[in-house]
Symmetry: C2
Subunit: 250 residues, 2 copies
């Protein structure tokens, strides 16, 4: 198990081989066994195998080929719709149309997603998260018929890998782990933490390709720009509003 | 591995035995191997073992005993502080003071948390998530010295279990899994989905204890009330504002 955790690689090329039903079922069972708030299970998992629907989703996921290639596309949603319907049938007034409810449901959806990812990897499958779920959320909601109270928050491509990937390098553990309390970073700390990453051949080639001065500028100028982040932040907050998660009274 | 996933129980009583360094180190390594957005690793993990700091945290986590009992308390944070400092050193203007950046960093922090949880369970340790992290976030930020750009989003208690728990029942898979697209629930569907849960002895005793008419009312009237949800939603949005994640221009 530890080896599966330590050997994770995101897979972006897939064979068309389907995933056997019993394996898919075990992946879904593993997903719902994850920890969740108050055992309310306020999340849902949309399993999309239909090629035509996956093609529609592919458009919204910035046309990343894996959405069409991988036989299974899993959309994990924060979901209070079912829970609210149950409360209403039981003469219990639901109070879950707010940001806290969305956020806790999102955390639970991601825990379920990561359990599914690991169960898949334990079965020799490849997985990849698609962050694009936060970019075209409105259209994805339409395509998957998500009702009010439901917001997609994590997406996995799932299938048999058609590529051999090296392990992606990570920053040294001291970049991420703090003991007892947070110890903020001096400029020297930052230099040290990023030294190996910045000096790698991989990074040097990336900088040449991107025509920037350094690696940090690839992130700020090309991949995750301020203008895009603001645009998609507004979009995501609008989605929360429209899906009924921003009612905080007066 | 599948067995570890399927046999998860949240543990709320712990022995005081410490976690060996090599096991803790492996848990942290497993955490950082999880998928993350653009390999930016915009999260951090605060490992708190000091009893005095854990006592302060215990107060904020609604005095749940496990915070004092469990030898290790892990706080997973959405963290753009380190990344922003690096960008600034490299003449790259960071644009990560917005809701999208917070949300994607939160998803990555939760993936890391769930990897840590599973690595711990693979080593025979018990874990429990503490949802209270979203309730007293402001005070937790003070106690752990979290700078601007850092928000705690998931907390784990970690240690050797001092209780024997049954597996918590889950709703049938069809309550959570939708094929191809979302299929909304009729009243009959809802009745069927909740039938077993509502008829269990456990639920019947819970209703007697809570003096409500039914299980749904325990959630809406006792555990997760509308008034509390609105109160903590405003608190959480204020935290995002104060920690610098709600700047969306004009």
């Amino acid at each position: 198990m530890i080896q599966t955790l330590l050997n994770h690689r995101s897979i972006r090329k897939y064979k068309s081989d389907p995933i056997p039903e019993n394996i898919l079922s075990e992946i879904l069972q593993a997903a719902v066994r994850g920890s969740n708030t108050g055992n309310m299970q306020v999340y849902s998992i949309i399993v999309t195998r239909d090629a035509a629907i996956r093609e529609q989703l592919w458009e919204q996921h910035f046309k990343q080929d894996m959405v069409k290639q991988a036989p299974v596309h899993l959309t994990f949603c924060a979901d209070f719709n079912r829970f609210n319907k149950w409360c209403e049938l039981r003469n219990a007034e639901p109070g879950y149309d707010n940001f806290l409810s969305f956020f806790t449901a999102s955390v639970d959806a991601v825990i379920a997603a990561q359990n599914a990812a690991l169960a898949a990897e334990a079965h020799g499958l490849g997985i990849c998260y698609l962050g694009t779920v936060n970019y075209n959320t409105e259209r994805i909601i339409e395509i998957l018929n998500l009702p009010k109270g439901v917001v997609p928050v994590a997406v996995l491509s799932l299938g048999y890998s058609d590529e051999q990937n090296e392990l992606t390098p990570r920053l040294p553990l001291e970049a991420v782990v703090h003991y007892e309390k947070y110890h903020d970073f001096s400029s020297e700390d930052i230099q040290k933490i990023y030294l190996e990453t910045e000096n790698s051949e991989f990074t040097k080639n990336l900088i040449l390709e991107n025509k920037t001065d350094n690696l940090a500028q690839i992130f700020t100028q090309k991949r995750y720009t301020k203008a895009n982040n603001i645009h998609f932040s507004k979009h995501l907050l609008r989605v929360l509003e429209n899906q009924g998660f921003m009612n905080h009274g007066e």
